[in-house]
């Protein structure tokens, strides 16, 4: 090997090693302590085998968190894509070039906002006494409307904020995708007795199948990381109705009891489940 060809290796190796260490050491350590009974309040701990995992499955709060996480994934991913496709098509169909440029900019603002800021803004907007969103209800009925404290509406309200951030951003992407399509199949469909909605349903969207699937995947991965949003808006409450897996793991590990091994067990399970599920779906939808 000449020095010329070795140079890239020399430059790339240190950062790659650092990245690998950052990625794999905590992962490996999490797996390691998930087999122990380590707690934050005690310096020692002993090997307990699969005890943490076995305990998890009889923990009703854990089962609840799994349910909340799945609901969260399903709701945010579906709604985000529906909003994105609907808005994207509306923009493509009705907005002039100038309107598109302005709206694109406006639609990008929410996703640029740090999520904690967005969460705080919306938390105030939903405030039962002073919130702008709840104000009309209060003005009409005289009763305060507390969406975030109501177990029936809390999760959906938080999901709304997530869809607001990502649905608008994805709408811009869908618009740009539609703009890249050749116009002739649209014209052929117009002559083929297709109504406007049929043109999109049967011609335009199927032509965008691959990028739309990619968008779905991106949103699925993104939705897994909604910790900050939920944490700021509800902290998992009321009760445990918005407590997702990562929220529960966090509170087991750091807030409530410091059971770091138990929390690690959850994290490891989550990692395994997402890896398996994503691999299966990825293989399924790829032609």
């Amino acid at each position: 090997m000449t020095s010329r060809t070795r140079l890239p290796t020399i430059f790339l190796a240190p950062p790659l090693l650092i990245l690998a260490a950052l990625a794999f050491v905590p992962t490996a350590y999490a797996v390691y302590i998930s087999f122990r009974n380590r707690e934050l309040s005690r310096p020692d701990g002993s090997f307990v085998g699969l005890a943490n995992y076995i305990d998890l499955f009889s923990d009703r709060r854990f089962v609840n968190a799994v349910g909340v996480s799945l609901t969260w994934e399903l709701v945010t991913v579906t709604l985000t894509l529906l909003v994105a496709v609907a808005l994207g098509i509306l923009l493509f169909e009705f907005a002039s070039a100038r309107q598109r440029a302005v709206l694109t900019l406006v639609f990008l603002v929410p996703v640029i906002l740090p999520r904690v800021s967005a969460a705080f803004v919306w938390k105030f907007a939903f405030h039962p006494l002073y919130g702008i969103v709840t104000y009309p209800y209060k003005a009409i009925t005289g009763q305060p409307l507390d969406l975030l404290s109501n177990p029936a509406t809390a999760l959906m309200t938080v999901a709304l904020v997530d869809v607001w951030q990502w649905g608008l951003f994805f709408a811009v992407i869908v618009l740009k995708l539609l703009e890249t399509l050749p116009p002739q199949p649209f014209e052929a469909a117009r002559l083929d007795h297709a109504r406007p909605w049929e043109i999109y349903l049967y011609v335009a969207l199927p032509m965008l199948k691959a990028p739309l699937i990619s968008l779905t995947f991106i949103k699925m991965i993104e939705s897994l990381r909604a910790f900050d949003l939920i944490y700021v808006m509800t902290r998992g409450g009321p009760g445990i109705t918005t407590e997702t897996l990562d929220m529960y793991a966090f509170s087991q590990g750091f807030i409530e009891s410091g059971r770091i091994s138990y929390a690690s067990g959850m994290a490891v399970l989550m990692m395994l489940a997402t890896t398996v599920i994503f691999t299966v779906i990825w293989k399924r939808v790829k032609p």
Partner: protein
């Protein structure tokens, strides 16, 4: 089936007018070709008839019904696009059936009709495939099938053969001609290829700058081009043009230019003494003749290029600084460097007023 009437059609994009006061009537069963150089407005006109472009002014009616404000689907037209415009994610079967499905035709009938159309166009083996798995010619046949299956009143073709290679283009041209013979659907066909226009059309509408330059049968347009533009556009190889001045010589007109002199009977051209003319001579009208000295109706010069075409050869030489082409039998072709005289029969001459560009050929009695 239906006739089409365009009356006083205008098309403007903002301040730019591309078509102005276009008038044309197309009879039932007629095959009309819009021919012209790119940018002459022929495709825009077709798209206005199809309903894909707004009509800025005037009126289009199909089968006696004004269609200006109708959606494309309600006009009873079917269109074949230059780049096929197939639905890439659907099979050939679904591509052909798409229109009927949207029209809520029964499934069994759709199937019958798809198979019948596919049979006519030889597409049966490909029905389960996707468009990308087909060659260009096959894809265009699918596009034709997709247009045919709706049994439209009018067929619109927008340069359908331009994306195909030369051999396939000839083949598809013949197929389209056969199809029209059997279906007899009123057809408008847009092309910039004069060969397609000449072979397919009942009537050619030759356009330039958004207006009709000449409309007539292929024979009329070839034999009696109305303007200099038409004469130059139609015919391969191109017509030769020579600047001459008319002089009255009692019995006949003498047309004289730089080193040439033509004598033409008075009945052929409607001209006046001293009129500046452009003389048009088709390369195929020239034939090799013996001696050039002192004779009229002769073009002669030093051959500088001989292009072999197979049966014929195109011979180029210069007369008074103008390049002249002559189409002669290949067996009889001269060699480069020879000086050859070509005779031109007076009855094959065309002449155009140099100021207006209009033909001065007299109407036939």
């Amino acid at each position: 089936m239906a006739n089409i009437v365009c009356s006083h059609i205008d098309k403007a994009y903002g301040a730019i007018t591309v078509i102005k006061d276009f008038n044309l009537e197309i009879a039932d069963h007629e095959f009309v070709v819009f021919l012209g150089p790119s940018g002459c407005g022929k495709s825009t006109l077709l798209r206005m008839i199809a309903g894909l472009e707004e009509i800025s002014g005037g009126e289009v009616s199909i089968a006696g019904r004004t269609v200006n404000d109708l959606e494309p689907r309600d006009r009873g037209v079917a269109m074949v696009f230059q780049n096929y415009a197939l639905y890439p994610h659907m099979t050939i079967y679904d591509n052909i059936a798409f229109g009927l499905k949207r029209m809520k035709v029964e499934k069994a009938e759709i199937d019958n009709r798809v198979r019948a159309v596919a049979g006519t166009l030889g597409l049966e083996p490909y029905l389960a495939r996707k468009p990308t798995e087909l060659s260009g010619g096959q894809q265009q046949r699918v596009a034709i099938a997709r247009a045919m299956i709706k049994t439209p009143r009018v067929f619109l073709f927008d340069e359908p053969l331009s994306n195909l290679d030369a051999k396939l283009r000839n083949h598809m041209r013949v197929e389209i001609a056969r199809l029209h013979q059997s279906l007899k659907t009123t057809t408008i066909y847009v092309t910039h290829d004069q060969l397609e226009a000449m072979t397919l059309a009942d009537r050619i509408v030759l356009m330039k700058g958004g207006a009709i330059e000449q409309a007539g049968t292929p024979t009329e347009i070839y034999q009696r081009p109305r303007t200099l533009f038409v004469a130059g556009f139609i015919g391969t190889p191109n017509m030769n043009f020579l600047d001459v001045t008319a002089r009255n010589d009692g019995e006949a007109w003498l047309l004289e230019g730089d080193g040439l002199r033509f004598r033409v009977g008075r009945e052929r051209f409607d001209i006046r003494e001293g009129q500046a003319l452009t003389l048009g001579v088709r390369p195929s009208s020239l034939s090799i003749s013996g001696n050039a000295e002192g004779r009229e109706n002769i073009l002669s010069g030093l051959i500088d290029l001989v292009e072999f075409h197979g049966d014929n050869a195109l011979v180029s030489f210069r007369v008074g600084g103008v390049e002249i082409g002559a189409l002669v039998p290949a067996s009889n072709r001269p060699k480069t460097g020879m000086t050859v005289a070509f005779s031109v029969p007076a009855e094959s001459l065309h002449a155009f007023d140099r100021a207006t560009g209009l033909s001065v050929l007299r109407d036939r009695p």
